[in-house]
């Protein structure tokens, strides 16, 4: 009983955090970004409450250079159309080469045929039938629509591609337009694609579980399709997303247990933008900024490519001279030294190390001495 009440309280607090601003639905990119910086309380709270981070950042005067460029989107769409052209002819070739798909397995279902609003229900039906009947049910499912519960709200996800069945297992196929050159691709792009695909794997596993099937029928290997070298010819490779899945799952459980974070906040705190009738935010900027600063962010330069709030947090980190600015690796090595001035003070000896800082202070002084010798 008390558990129920706590849960209600919790939802209520999150609603209050969001205020009157309409809820921002999560998409796969946003969910994937959660896994990119799991230690950030500010992001966890804003996402948990469904705050429109883009609008908040814009209102604060720190609009993020976000969303893809229209050229990238067009390129992505063209490449996707190429892969899926003529009954997924290219995709079938790659799957036959990569996974040994048999010649007979070519059945193609376009989930979108039923019309947009029935897509989710139709995806469920098709996947259910495939999981039950095994071989006779079809191989490729185009335009499926999956759902995932995020902090009490349902997010709808479109695996931009196809979930297909091979030897009784489902694989997520992710089509991306960054090039694989000589067998190598940009590691950060691959990591982002893997995180995004992990979200789809998780959503599909949840769906199978709801339908009473074995969730492990969804393979943790996703098929990543990219253009090869400098041509537009697609090439497929398998990417293991087990690690991303684990991070994602942990992060999603954490989101539903935001209690601890919420308890530390004052009762009346809200990130409300107070939009007027046209949806323009009317809340004083300084007030919103103060409210956000009550939550701790964990800025890292990687945030610039994943989070709408990045410029706001970077500005904050700069003002504090925080060592976070220098990247995760430096921050971890400077464990216990929170700001850049502090680190410099320790290095040139103008500042005495506090308890527990002796080790790092010695290292910093050594580094300073070496630097002095080099420059001399």
């Amino acid at each position: 009983m008390s558990g129920l009440k706590r849960e209600g309280d919790h939802a209520h607090r999150l609603e209050a955090l969001r205020g009157t601003t309409p809820q921002q639905p999560h998409d796969a990119r946003a969910i994937a970004a959660l896994a990119a910086n799991p230690g950030c309380a500010r992001r966890a709270l804003m996402d948990g409450a469904g705050v429109d981070k883009d609008a908040a950042a814009r209102h604060l005067g720190f609009p993020a250079p976000f969303g893809q460029s229209p050229f990238a989107i067009t390129r992505g769409n063209v490449f996707e159309a190429l892969v899926k052209a003529d009954g997924c002819a290219e995709l079938l070739r790659m799957l036959r080469e990569l996974l040994g798909l048999t010649v007979a397995e070519v059945a193609y279902h376009d989930v979108e045929n039923v019309g947009a609003h029935l897509r989710h229900a139709h995806t469920r039906t098709l996947i259910d039938r495939a999981a039950r009947d095994g071989h006779d049910a079809g191989t490729l499912y185009d335009h499926p629509l999956l759902s995932l519960e995020i902090a009490g709200h349902t997010a709808y996800l479109e695996p931009d591609v196809v979930a297909f069945q091979l030897g009784g297992r489902f694989h997520i196929v992710e089509i991306k337009s960054f090039a694989v050159i000589d067998g190598q691709a940009d590691p950060s792009a691959v990591a982002a694609a893997a995180r995004q695909a992990a979200v789809y794997v998780l959503a599909l596993r949840t769906l199978l579980e709801e339908l009473g099937h074995d969730p492990l029928k969804v393979s943790h290997d996703v098929v990543l399709v990219c253009p090869e070298n400098f041509a537009n010819r697609p090439v497929a490779s398998l990417v293991d997303v087990r690690r991303q899945l684990a991070v994602l799952r942990r992060q999603l459980t954490r989101m539903t247990s935001l209690d601890r974070l919420l308890e530390e906040l004052p009762e009346d705190l809200t990130f409300d933008l107070r939009p007027d009738e046209d949806g323009r935010p009317t809340r004083p900027v300084a007030e919103l900024g103060d409210a956000l600063r009550r939550t701790t962010a964990r800025y890292a330069p990687d945030c610039l490519s994943t989070c709408d709030m990045c410029f706001f947090c970077r500005d904050e980190a700069r003002q504090e001279g925080a060592s976070d600015l220098l990247g995760r690796q430096v921050r971890d090595e400077l464990g216990g030294v929170a700001s850049v001035t502090e680190a410099l003070g320790l290095a040139d000896g103008t500042r005495d190390p506090a308890e527990g800082q002796e080790e790092i202070a010695r290292l910093l002084r050594n580094a300073e001495r070496l630097r002095g010798e080099c420059l001399a």
Partner: protein, 255 residues
């Protein structure tokens, strides 16, 4: 010479009738396109009758987008995506269309059919899904039997193989046709020798037929069943252009 004139006169008559139908159907965009073609046809007729030779060796082809698509589809003999139709039209008929011009084609055809049913010898129409709704991005010809115009689960692959065979069996081969065939052959097991050289058309057709044999039985069965349903349940317009899905009905009622 008089043959050309006869052709042109017939063409001009057709275009005039087309403009009139389009105006009646209040389809301004289509009418504008037809009028432009009518004017160029009349200019060509003037030039021919007065004995002036047009400046260029070969006058621009007087083939409408609609006609080019028709040619492409007739060659392919199966439901196809605009992208493939354009590729075929460019490779074999010196076509000038781009796929962006095909987007409104099906709607124009439907409008024309509704205002004057069976007024044209053929219509470019939709392929029908298992829900008898129009399949996204596929074009077919109204002259084909229903079995060829429905798509079951295996049909996209079967249609692709059928198209590949049709392309391979074309006798006239230039560079563009070779490229198209190579692109298709790459995705058929056993059709290429793994190099980038133009594939042997006979081998491509043979490989495609071999794969086709694997799918043929089930696909024919699926299609027959769908065609039967379509014939029993749909009226003339829906049989050609697909039954409306729930969401389109909602949209139409809203406006």
């Amino acid at each position: 010479m008089s043959d050309r004139l006869d052709d042109l006169e017939r063409r001009i008559d057709e275009l005039r009738a087309g403009v009139r139908t389009a105006m009646r159907a209040r389809d301004g965009a289509h009418a504008r396109v037809l009028r432009a073609e009518l004017r160029s046809a009349e200019r060509a007729w003037d030039a021919l009758v007065s004995g002036e030779q047009p400046a260029k060796e070969e006058p621009p082809r007087l083939v409408t987008v609609r006609e080019q698509v028709h040619q492409g589809l007739r060659l392919l003999g199966a439901a196809a995506q605009p992208r493939l139709i354009v590729a075929v039209s460019t490779a074999f008929f010196g076509g000038t269309i781009s796929s962006s011009r095909l987007t409104s084609l099906r709607r124009d055809e439907e409008r024309s059919f509704r205002s004057l049913p069976f007024g044209r010898p053929y219509y470019l129409c939709a392929a029908l899904t298992d829900r008898l709704s129009p399949a996204r991005g596929l074009l077919t010809l109204s002259t084909w039997p229903l079995e060829r115009r429905v798509v079951g689960p295996l049909s996209p692959r079967v249609d692709f193989l059928t198209c590949a065979i049709a392309v391979a069996e074309q006798k006239t081969h230039d560079e563009r046709a070779d490229r198209l065939l190579l692109r298709m052959a790459r995705n058929i097991p056993g059709a290429t020798d793994g190099t980038l050289s133009p594939p042997d058309p006979g081998r491509v057709a043979e490989a495609a037929r071999a794969e086709l044999r694997v799918h043929a039985d089930r696909d024919t069965r699926d299609r027959a069943e769908l065609a039967e349903r379509a014939a029993a349940q749909l009226g003339d317009t829906a049989r050609l252009f697909g039954a409306a899905t729930l969401s389109t009905i909602k949209k139409e009622n809203a406006t």
